[in-house]
């Protein structure tokens, strides 16, 4: 070994190893990015955006050809849904005005009224991390567009992740696949069941082997069943309420048999992402708890 590398090289190797271990240890606890980091990231992410869209459209073109066969059937179904949609819109308008009137009757404060009034920012994906241990994507909105840390990021299908770090022109999104109960950096999501808002659970980890989210702390008296749709409850105030997360595929006993644990299959796909929505909760600073 010594002959192969030589004495001087061994010393260099050892010193650089020590430097690296120190660097990793120091940067593990970091909370944000420094200015040079932000500048490098913005530049690279912007350039990657130039390549991301064309690649997406090329891939989309091949997918379109494949999908052509299903198009006819889909069109028929969509037409049927559209008539239902028109009916529902009428109903919604009526209910909304009724809801407003009732709120006024009950004398809600302005702040309570605006609590559900979320603002959506449309974001384009610039790049996806090629590292399997690090599920992060970069989007083309940054602090200049009013993006702040911990905002929820959704796709058309459902919840995708949360904004992790923000620089001037871009932001990193931590995907749901990164949720980890043992990590302080990852924030758990309080969730409930659509239609049974009394039930409650916390989604705090992701199992890469089964590709399911793990929902814990479900009470024994809870009405949660397999097949239910899980949505955010908005209790943690990190995520707004009512965003679809996934469907329950299994309900098991928890670690100590006191609570139930449910496996939730996420509705959103994390692989081929293009357009995303960043949800801004009004007055996030005033109501922020954690």
């Amino acid at each position: 070994m010594f002959k192969l590398l030589g004495n001087k090289k061994i010393v260099v190797l050892l010193i650089s190893l020590i430097v690296f271990v120190a660097l990793m240890g120091l940067t593990m606890m970091r909370t944000g990015m420094t200015t040079p980091e932000k500048m490098i990231k913005d530049t690279v992410a912007w350039t990657q955006g130039l390549f991301y869209r064309p690649a997406q459209s090329i891939a989309g073109f091949f997918k379109d050809i494949r999908d052509l066969r299903d198009l006819y059937e889909e069109n028929r179904v969509l037409k049927a849904t559209l008539s239902n949609y028109a009916k529902d819109t009428m109903k919604l308008n009526k209910l909304e005005s009724e809801n407003k009137n009732l709120k006024e009757l009950l004398e809600f404060t302005e702040r309570q009224k605006s609590l559900d009034n979320y603002k959506y920012h449309v974001a384009q994906v610039l790049s996806i991390s090629p590292d399997p241990y690090n599920g992060r994507i970069n989007i083309n909105l940054g602090s200049r567009d009013g993006i702040k840390e911990n905002m929820a990021v959704i796709s058309v299908e459902g919840l995708v992740g949360r904004v992790d770090t923000v620089s001037e022109l871009s932001a990193s999104v931590q995907l749901l696949t990164e949720l980890d109960a043992t990590n302080n950096e990852s924030k758990a999501i309080s969730a409930t069941v659509k239609g049974k808002e009394r039930s409650f659970g916390i989604i705090q980890s992701y199992d890469p082997a089964t590709q399911n989210l793990i929902m814990t702390n479900i009470e024994q008296t809870d009405e949660l069943e397999v097949g239910d749709t899980i949505i955010t409850s908005g209790m943690g105030l990190v995520f707004p309420k009512g965003i679809e997360i996934g469907t329950v595929v299994a309900k098991e006993d928890g670690d100590f048999g006191i609570n139930y644990v449910a496996q939730v299959k996420p509705v959103a796909t994390f692989r081929h992402l293009s357009e995303l929505l960043v949800v801004e909760v009004p007055d996030a600073q005033d109501t922020e708890i954690n």
């Binding site: 990231k41 990657q48 991301y52 790049s127 996806i128 090629p130 690090n134 990193s172 082997a209 081929h272």
Partner: protein, 176 residues
């Protein structure tokens, strides 16, 4: 597109591509079951290290690893920097009597890739950032990535080799 600057530009281009285009070129159905991590830049740097000089490979590896750590905001700065540095240096170490052909370099790159994956896995395991089952990680992360990157190496081999040969000739003629 010639000279050392051209080489750096090419590597930058590959770096940009590996985060944006490659994920779209791989069919979705492959990515459902396994996680493929394309390391285009690493493959190119290993080729540089094999055919040009391992010192330059080491330098490129460290720089692009650091860039990766910054751009994708991983759990910490360092794993890619360290891993890419070590692997690209080691790739240039073995010397063969009759020169290095396609197969030997492919083998070196495959071995280097596997080592890189193990270094990453090891670092993340030790720091408990992403504890994964070893057997699962090997089958679902490392093996697919290994094959994918060997494929990339096959694609990159001819153009990279030409570019490097040209570079060497240019440097020789400028010395004389």
């Amino acid at each position: 597109m010639l000279g050392r600057n051209g080489l750096t530009l090419l590597l930058l281009l590959l770096f940009v591509l590996e985060g944006s285009v490659i994920k779209w070129l791989l069919p979705l159905s492959w990515q459902e079951q396994v996680m493929i991590s394309p390391h285009l830049t690493l493959v190119a740097i290993m080729l540089i290290s094999i055919y040009d000089s391992r010192r330059i490979g080491l330098l490129y590896g460290l720089c692009f690893g650091l860039l990766h750590d910054i751009v994708y905001y991983g759990p910490m700065i360092g794993p890619y920097c360290l891993g890419m540095g070590i692997v690209s240096y080691l790739c240039g170490v073995p010397k063969f009597r009759y020169g290095i052909g396609l197969f030997i370099s492919l083998f070196l790159i495959a071995a280097g890739n596997l080592l890189f994956e193990w270094i990453l896995y090891g670092i993340y395991q030790v720091t408990q950032v992403r504890p994964l089952d070893m057997h699962w990680a090997f089958l679902h992360l490392m093996l697919p990535s290994l094959f994918m990157n060997a494929l990339f190496a096959l694609i990159l081999y001819v153009p990279m080799r030409r570019l490097l040969d040209k570079l060497r000739k240019m440097e020789k003629s400028s010395k004389e």
